[in-house]
């Protein structure tokens, strides 16, 4: 099962390697990981997308909590959080496919951020499934390069995790 976990950590050197090392050392999966400082500059927030059954997920959250530099671990279930991802996509756009790319970009409310005679570079944001969908449509037209940020997530409702 796929899980999205937010981890608030001390914004210090070596913390990323502790978290990444925990996953690799114990054989846990990382599908994606994104990290940046929060509003409180002493704290960074990681969003980790991982997979495993209930027992593995319990171990992952417990092991993360055990790291001295980890301040808080939030395991989001599907309904409780909003997830977004950003993708930069360079796609071939020549002759008749130029119009097709534009149509797809329009449907997905994406943006063209760079143009050449032979290509478009697209900025797309949305839930990871939406990014997957636009990629599926663009792939047959000639995908030249792809960068995805990995998911970031925030809980629904009024409650906020400081940091």
């Amino acid at each position: 099962m796929k899980h999205t976990i937010a981890v608030l950590v001390e914004n210090e050197f070596g913390v990323l390697s502790r978290v990444a090392g925990l996953f690799s050392g114990r054989g846990f999966n990382i599908d994606s990981l994104s990290v940046a400082p929060t509003n409180d500059e002493t704290i960074s927030r990681m969003t980790i997308v991982t997979r495993g059954d209930e027992q593995i997920l319990e171990q992952i959250t417990k092991q993360l909590n055990k790291l001295i530099d980890v301040i808080k671990v939030i395991d989001f279930t599907d309904e409780s959080a909003i997830e977004r991802e950003l993708a930069l996509i360079k796609v071939s756009a020549e002759d008749e496919s130029r119009a097709e790319v534009l149509r797809i970009v329009d449907i997905f409310r994406a943006k063209i951020i760079d143009v050449t005679a032979k290509s478009y570079t697209i900025e797309a944001t949305g839930a990871p499934a939406k990014i997957d969908a636009i990629l599926e449509l663009l792939r047959p037209l000639g995908l030249k390069e792809l960068v995805r940020t990995g998911s970031i997530a925030i809980g629904r409702g009024a409650k906020g995790w400081k940091g």
Binding site: V9, E10, F13, G14, S17, R18, G21, G25, Q55, E58, Q59, K62, Q63, N65, K66, L67, I68, D69, V70, I71
Partner: protein, 566 residues
């Protein structure tokens, strides 16, 4: 007062109550050594290898319950500490290991004797610190000791660059520690504890399964009180030996791969398992699918990650083992009637266990011509002081010690359980003897493990540490040989040591006394002579070469599938 980093480090150690450190000098710690030269409050012991230095600090920590401290230089000094750190990590032993590091300006430049020791030890330390600014040093040392000894204890590494040792600042030791990401749970949830007591009192076939956590938490007394109040049998892991007196009729001794028949049968058939400070290691559970299948499992541990890691748990209690046991005792006091009924209800179970004990007691075949290792262990127990500290290496002799010594007090067995580190015994004994100069300290080793750190004979002699070393010499790497005999058609690939070593001459070369026994009737006299000889003594016992450790649960088999005679 303004001081340099090296002096600040020593002042901090002193304020943490450190009286002994085990260290090895080198280029990046020379400034610390220069301060040590005139620092009177800390006794420094120079081992002959950094690995032995960390094992000695570990032995010191296990024997005393205090944090052990080791010091090493950067590069090879630091990498030599790794096995010692991993050994302590697996057994949750509180250590602070300080390594020198190249000056901060050179870090990352592949400087002489530079190594990323923080990176190398990350998976085997509880936490680690690189000190970049001398103004952070005192706080870091305070935090390191706090992290090492609280919660589930473990080794903490401080990497201290040379320029930080030289830089000066105002020294002020913080009064308290505040780490927002580290708040170990101490108190067990009272509702959970009460539920556990209720659950326990409805059991018909209960067993208490105890690990090293009880010793680490200094909770042997509470555990013993609980077992005796309820008449519940107790089995211990290797790490738990000494937490419950094996002389007590409720003791089932060791469980697991080389555990007693009755302990493993009780584990298999019980209807309630109270696990305290234990982590369901594969050497303990055997095949998980058939492990305690009829039992409700209550698991008490200070580390939440231990719970439900390997086995399902019906009732988890996270908390300090001593605190939880105290709470349990209180709830039991309040339920005198129920306790009376409970004791009656478990009578048939205790009889069943007595039947197992009678059917297959822990035993071996005595010989009049060749020394049986089990006999040596029994004689050592008989002739040593009640509070003698035993350190072992890893292998057959370790299991024979665990089976036949009969431990009655906590912190009297020092053994590498989790990592299984050969070469641990001698330096660990050295650390314990440094902590307790007047107690009897005995290192029980095989001929293989002894040779992994035998250079420490020099440290013993130099520091007048009168450790008595007992080598059970079968000229084999015995445990692997046993596996080869049982599972690999006796193909003894590289397990025969072939070269016969003259251990008496070896001891004498270092200035220690060497003794040898080759026949059973020489065993007692040899031990007595060793105990009556001042200073370090090495006893070599030429034992039955192909003696096996039995019973044995083959790897991956169920606990009740023991090989009793082979």
């Amino acid at each position: 007062m303004k001081m340099n980093g090296a002096k600040i480090l020593l002042e901090c150690l002193k304020l943490e109550g450190v009286d002994t450190i085990f260290g090895y000098p080198g280029g990046t710690v020379i400034n610390i050594y220069d301060e040590l030269f005139s620092f009177k409050d800390i006794h420094h012991i120079l081992p002959r290898h950094e690995q032995a230095g960390v094992h000695a600090a570990d032995g010191y920590a296990r024997a005393t319950g205090k944090v052990g401290v080791a010091l090493a230089t950067s590069g090879p000094g630091a990498t030599n500490t790794v096995t010692g750190i991993a050994t302590a990590y697996m057994d949750s032993i509180p250590l602070v290991v300080i390594t020198g590091q190249v000056p901060t300006a050179l870090i990352g430049n592949d400087a002489f004797q530079e190594v990323d020791i923080i990176g190398i030890t990350r998976p085997c330390t509880k936490h680690s610190f690189l000190v970049k600014d001398v103004r952070d040093l005192a706080t870091i040392v305070k935090e390191a000791f706090y992290i090492a000894r609280t919660g589930r204890p473990g080794p903490v590494l401080i990497d201290l660059p040379k320029n930080v040792q030289v830089a000066t600042t105002e020294f002020k030791y913080p009064d308290s520690v505040e780490i927002r990401g580290y708040k170990p749970t101490i108190e067990g949830h009272p509702k959970q504890v009460e539920k556990a007591v209720e659950m326990l009192l409805t059991a018909k076939k209960p067993v208490i399964y105890v690990g090293g956590g009880v010793i680490l938490a200094n909770a042997a007394e509470e555990l013993t009180a609980l077992a005796r109040k309820l008449n519940v049998p107790v089995t211990t892991t290797l790490m738990g030996l000494g937490s419950f007196p094996e002389t007590d009729p409720l003791s089932l001794g060791l469980l697991g791969m080389h555990g007693t028949y009755y302990a493993n049968m009780a584990m298999t058939d019980c209807d309630l398992l109270l696990a305290i400070g234990a982590r369901f290691d594969d050497r303990v559970t055997g095949k998980i699918a058939t492990f305690a299948t009829h039992a409700k499992i209550i698991h008490v541990d200070v580390d939440p990650t231990s719970i439900k890691k390997n086995v399902r748990v019906d009732l988890p209690i996270v908390g300090d083992v001593k605190d939880v046991l105290k709470q349990q005792l209180k709830f039991i006091e309040e339920r005198a009637d129920k306790v009376r009924e409970f004791k009656q209800a478990i009578e048939p179970w205790l009889k069943e266990i007595d039947g197992w004990k009678a059917k297959h007691p822990l035993t071996y075949k005595q010989s009049t011509s060749v020394i049986k290792p089990q006999y040596v262990i029994q004689k050592l127990r008989e002739l040593s002081d009640e509070d003698a500290i035993i350190a072992t290496d890893v292998g057959q002799h370790q299991m024979w010690t665990a089976q036949f010594f009969g431990f009655t007090r906590p912190r009297t067995l020092l053994s590498s359980g989790g990592l299984g580190t050969m070469g641990y015994g001698l330096p660990a004994a050295m650390g314990a003897q440094a902590a307790f100069p007047d107690r009897q300290v005995i290192a029980i080793c095989g001929d293989g493990g002894f040779q992994m750190n035998l250079q420490e004979l020099a440290t013993l002699v130099q520091n007048r540490l009168p450790v008595k070393i007992c080598i059970l010499n079968n000229n084999f790497l015995g445990m692997v040989r046993q596996w080869q005999e049982l599972f690999f058609d006796k193909r003894y690939s590289s397990t025969c040591m072939e070269l016969p070593i003259d251990f008496i001459k070896l001891a004498e070369a270092f200035g220690a006394t060497g003794l040898q026994a080759t026949k059973p009737d020489e065993v007692e006299a040899t031990i007595k002579r060793a105990f009556n000889t001042p200073g370090p003594v090495l006893m070599e016992f030429k034992i039955a070469r192909e003696e096996k450790v039995l019973p044995m649960v083959p790897a991956g088999a169920s606990l009740n599938e023991m090989v009793l005679n082979a």
